[in-house]
């Protein structure tokens, strides 16, 4: 047990401490890659860095939209998979596939699918005589294309979590509700969602944390463009380290992203605690 916990500390906690230290240093090509203490200058720079705020906003926008969309679609898929259908196993396998593929693999695929004008969607649009869509060339659209690609990949994961939750809800609850004359929407609203709420919380927390660290997808699909409209905090931090060789600032950015994520996850938990049904309080 001890070695595993030590390894966990080494992999997760130490880097954060290291970043905390590094964020008080300047370590760039101008310092010949040697760290030099600069106090809080990096944090000051961060606060004044419009690009950081823009990226933070874009990362948040991406995270909230894709997680929201994934929840809705995931719930729909979970409800579908929870029905006793013919070929359910096959269906489950097929819907799981997008999740299993490496992000970089399918990001490359999406780059081609979103191609203007040779991608399948634009080909279809052209066939019907509609103008093509610049999926990756218009700042107003590109981030949505990214949400689309991410939703495609991650919905199966959310769906599976929710499916696990659905399977813990006893069928007689629905039967009882049906006897009392509840329709499908009412039983979804009154039974499924409240009972599913812990699972939804888990899905939201996990996905939100992952979405706020979005990197693979951005780097391969758009590299942050056009006009920097899809750059995420992680990509900005990566560019600062690997392209600008500005390690102090990169560490500052990553620590800031981490704090932001903590703040949001804490917010999500609070929201859940406040909004969850009262009876759930006694459950744990």
């Amino acid at each position: 047990m001890a070695p595993a916990l030590l390894l966990l500390l080494a992999v997760f906690a130490l880097p954060m401490l290291q970043y905390a230290w590094l964020s008080t240093q300047a370590q760039t090509v101008l310092t010949e890659l040697e760290p030099q203490p600069v106090g809080l200058a990096q944090w000051q720079r961060l606060l004044q860095d419009g690009r950081f705020w823009q990226d933070a906003f874009q990362t948040l926008r991406f995270g909230l939209c894709s997680v929201g969309l994934e929840l809705v679609l995931g719930l729909a898929v979970a409800l579908l998979l929870n029905q006793p259908l013919r070929g359910r196993t096959l269906l489950r396998t097929v819907s799981l596939l997008p999740w299993a593929l490496p992000t970089t693999v399918m990001a490359l695929g999406w780059r081609w699918i979103f191609n203007d004008p040779f991608g399948p969607i634009n080909l279809l649009l052209a066939q019907v005589g509609l103008p093509t869509v610049s999926f990756l060339g218009d700042p107003a659209i590109t981030w949505l294309s990214m949400v689309w690609a991410d939703t495609w990949k991650t919905t199966p994961f959310v769906a599976l979590l929710l499916l696990a939750g659905l399977q813990t809800i006893p069928a007689d609850l629905y039967e009882a509700a049906a006897l009392e004359g509840a329709n499908r929407w009412q039983s979804l609203r009154r039974i499924t969602l409240p009972l599913l709420s812990p699972y939804i919380l888990i899905a939201v927390l996990f996905r939100l944390a992952q979405a706020l660290g979005v990197f693979d997808l951005v780097q391969v699909l758009t590299a942050g463009g056009p006009a920097g409209s899809t750059e995420s905090l992680a990509l900005y931090a990566y560019i600062n380290a690997m392209r600008f060789l500005d390690f102090g600032y990169s560490a500052t950015l990553m620590l800031a992203a981490f704090l932001l994520m903590l703040l949001l996850s804490g917010g999500a938990v609070l929201l859940w605690l406040v909004s969850r049904p009262r009876w759930a309080g006694g459950q744990r």
Binding site: P3, A4, A100, T104, G213, F215
Partner: protein, 264 residues
């Protein structure tokens, strides 16, 4: 109807890539309905330097070694935690769960420094170390849950029969954990196979690249045209092992994910 929609949504993009990968580049950017079929993209990939299967092999090696290492570390830890009191274990588990959800891309810079200081770069087996660290939280949560599912009497019975800790693990607990271990292994393997940022910074030798960074860095066939067909063929080749894996182990993957949700 719903089912059809789901299948179309899930498979559509992959089928388009499959289609693209068999079409000559010229027809892709010209009239798409014309032109024949070709294997040239696959031939180019498999005959490249290094050949594409090399990336698959590298990913496989890293995936397997990381999975093994993770299990070796995670099983005792999960066992220990599962035998702790509920309350203590829960406090530890909250931390472990936070680690499991951590957007690990934020760790790449610190891990890169680690690789430099300890000379771990460009070594597939050394890459297993960070991967093990990153997969541990999930593995611990999953395995711990299934350790808790084993009635304590079974182990006590074995103790009374004079079985030592190792014997109990080997003959009683681990055989019962086999399904959980299989699920956890698959999830770990998938994670390692797909991991990108760490591999991107830890590997710079072309012949050692794993699939994910290789895909991102993939060199086109020519500077003159955008090698859409080649990209598509690469995505197809890169997907096949995983599709096979999912088809064969669908049940274990699903149970691993759902176990994680219920118990985690």
């Amino acid at each position: 109807m719903n089912r059809l929609l789901l299948i179309l949504w899930s498979l559509g993009p992959m089928l388009w890539q499959l289609y693209t990968s068999f079409r000559p580049n010229a027809t892709l950017t010209g009239n798409p309905m014309q032109g024949g079929w070709t294997l040239e993209h696959y031939q180019a990939l498999l005959g490249g330097n290094p050949p594409f299967w090399r990336y698959l092999l590298n990913s496989g090696v890293v995936g397997l070694s990381s999975t093994l290492l993770t299990l070796v570390v995670a099983v005792p830890c999960a066992y220990g935690l599962s035998r702790l009191g509920r309350k203590t274990a829960r406090n530890v588990n909250v931390l472990v769960a936070i680690a499991a959800a951590f957007p690990y891309v934020l760790l790449f810079l610190a891990l890169l420094q680690l690789a430099r200081d300890l000379h771990l770069g460009n070594n597939l087996l050394a890459l297993s170390l960070p991967y093990t660290g990153l997969s541990l939280p999930l593995a611990i949560l999953l395995l711990q849950a299934s350790f808790r599912d084993i009635p304590p009497e079974l182990e006590e019975a074995a103790r009374l029969e004079g079985l030592g800790l190792w014997q109990r693990l080997r003959w009683v607990l681990l055989p019962l954990m086999a399904p959980a271990i299989a699920s956890a292994s698959l999830l770990i393997f998938l994670f390692c196979w797909n991991e990108y940022p760490i591999a991107l910074t830890w590997l710079s030798r072309a012949d050692l690249l794993t699939l994910a960074p290789a895909m991102a860095r993939i060199a086109g066939a020519s500077v003159f045209t955008v090698p859409y067909g080649g990209f598509a063929a690469a995505t197809v080749l890169g997907s096949i092992p995983l599709i096979v894996l999912v088809l064969v182990f669908q049940r274990q993957i699903v149970s691993g994910l759902t176990q994680g949700a219920i118990k985690g």
